[in-house]
Subunit: 357 residues, 2 copies
Amino acid sequence: MKKLINRPADVVRESLEGMAAAHPDQVKLNSDPIFVYRADAPVKGKVAVISGGGSGHEPTHVGFVGAGMLDAACPGDVFVSPTTEQIIEAIRVVQGGAGVLNVVKCYWDDMDVFAEAAELAHAEGSPVANILIDDDVAVSESVYSHGRRGTGTTVLAEKICGAGAELGYDLSRLADLCRRVNVNGRSMGIAFTPSTVPAKGTPSFEIGENEMEVGIGIHGEPGRERMSLKMADEITEMVALEIINDPAYERTVQEWDTDKGEWVDVDLVDQPLQSGDQVLAFVNGMGGTPVPELYIVYRKLVEICQKKGLRVVRSLIGSYITAIEMQGASITLLRVDEEMVRLWDAPVNTPRLRWGA
Amino acid sequence: MKKLINRPADVVRESLEGMAAAHPDQVKLNSDPIFVYRADAPVKGKVAVISGGGSGHEPTHVGFVGAGMLDAACPGDVFVSPTTEQIIEAIRVVQGGAGVLNVVKCYWDDMDVFAEAAELAHAEGSPVANILIDDDVAVSESVYSHGRRGTGTTVLAEKICGAGAELGYDLSRLADLCRRVNVNGRSMGIAFTPSTVPAKGTPSFEIGENEMEVGIGIHGEPGRERMSLKMADEITEMVALEIINDPAYERTVQEWDTDKGEWVDVDLVDQPLQSGDQVLAFVNGMGGTPVPELYIVYRKLVEICQKKGLRVVRSLIGSYITAIEMQGASITLLRVDEEMVRLWDAPVNTPRLRWGA
């Protein structure tokens, strides 16, 4: 295992200590329980936006803490969910009296700990909305989830909702916005190589020199199929068309109703992309893929979108939701309206995403 | 070879087409000869800051084109210098009547083509200063250079001088500033894995499962020695102490004297870092190393700097000058004064480095 680390058990803590030392104006680190929070938290009167999940997907979520995005991020160990204790303590530290929006990726364990934390926060008097991100069109059941997994749309939801919170959106409006981002976002990824969890020390799967995994998950869990390597344009077309041609996706999710103080069923449906839609195109690297390769994917993606009548009005290209050092990429297309674009463009000041500030 | 590319011969052009499509407000692409330039070039009355070199080191230099940094970047093929024609044509397109600062990394071929371009530009009436970056303390002779190689300090010089140009510094002041950044910057790197040049298709060197290369060059060329893997803290300490304990480095370089219209010898000396100095600490990934590992390095680096009486006043952490998908990292310490810090903090608006804009 070739990694720039010390003891595997110390990877998460030491990297976060380094991040906090490098960006003292943006973030602080709480040591026990461990979480990263905005340097100026709590921001009085603002809804706090919080996320979390296993480490190994950086900069998701810890690198997105700061003004205009997340108030706190709760990291588990590599590919392991955080604990309820981390989340409730982060809520206590960053909530500014206007409630808390938790952005939760669709994986069993993440959903469980955020659900427990929402109930605890409610009991302590903090209104909470847990909004699920389930945008990965590749599979409907996986090793870690029932339903679609939460991937690239998470990054976009955190940016857009973080900007809304900064502008004074109340919790109900922000929850609606986050739900709207989720049902308008679709993702799918491929991988050329596995990644190695430090504590395990060996690659998460085996793959041939001329093979790739299509529909890969961000933990290296299997996707749809193993196939021979193809050229970037072919891969891009294959993945983009799966996203664009994906039919309406209907499901019922549970959301915490903070007024009633109970869980309620919410019916969601993703309407397919159609000609005339404006989209934000996000080409994400899985950690070990150089940025120029992502631009090659983006080049083809724009061409495909144009052919399908989709207008790419904004883009994000880089390694933002990763699987440690995995080589591969994912594409996310988010159908955007004017409000989402305005919030996307708003200033953001975090360790790994920054503009206008 | 597992890469998200089409034909190897098209990698550079296609990735730049994708980059230009993604960032139309920041950059434009000139196709023949190929170079990237500021979308609003030429900026009248401003010194144009230009760089270039082989591709494969992205975001260096193409990702740093835009307001507050480079006016143009001329990319060669992967690990191959650009041509004189690319540079002189970029100068013609972006020069705004106040002269041109070329930031040139110390490699034979880069120096040759920038020297020819300076003479041509001079003949066409454009005052030009070529300032060399030779900051790599690892070796004094290498496969591609006589004298120290140009590495991490290049990124810092481009940011700082780009900000100076934006503020209206004239060519002479900007050349002095760039020279000052160079003689105050020192770098050294290590690698765990080789990289693969697309046109070649096989790794640039072989290395054992438990080995690393210390003092690696950004083309994968050998450094000082091959040794057994060590923990991140040990590696960081070894590299940081080589940089901090590096003695005065004296050499004579040739610079173009635009008043005389001839090459003149300039004696340079890097004074060792000493207790009380303020530094910008730059932890750079070689392309395939996840950012959390770079933060682990940064964490230890700050501790070592403190012990040595160096005050880390600014930092940059990420993969900014790379060797395609190589796993590894480099450290750059730049002794800064108040002017450099002010220019570092100034707004920058490029595809891969952006803040305050």
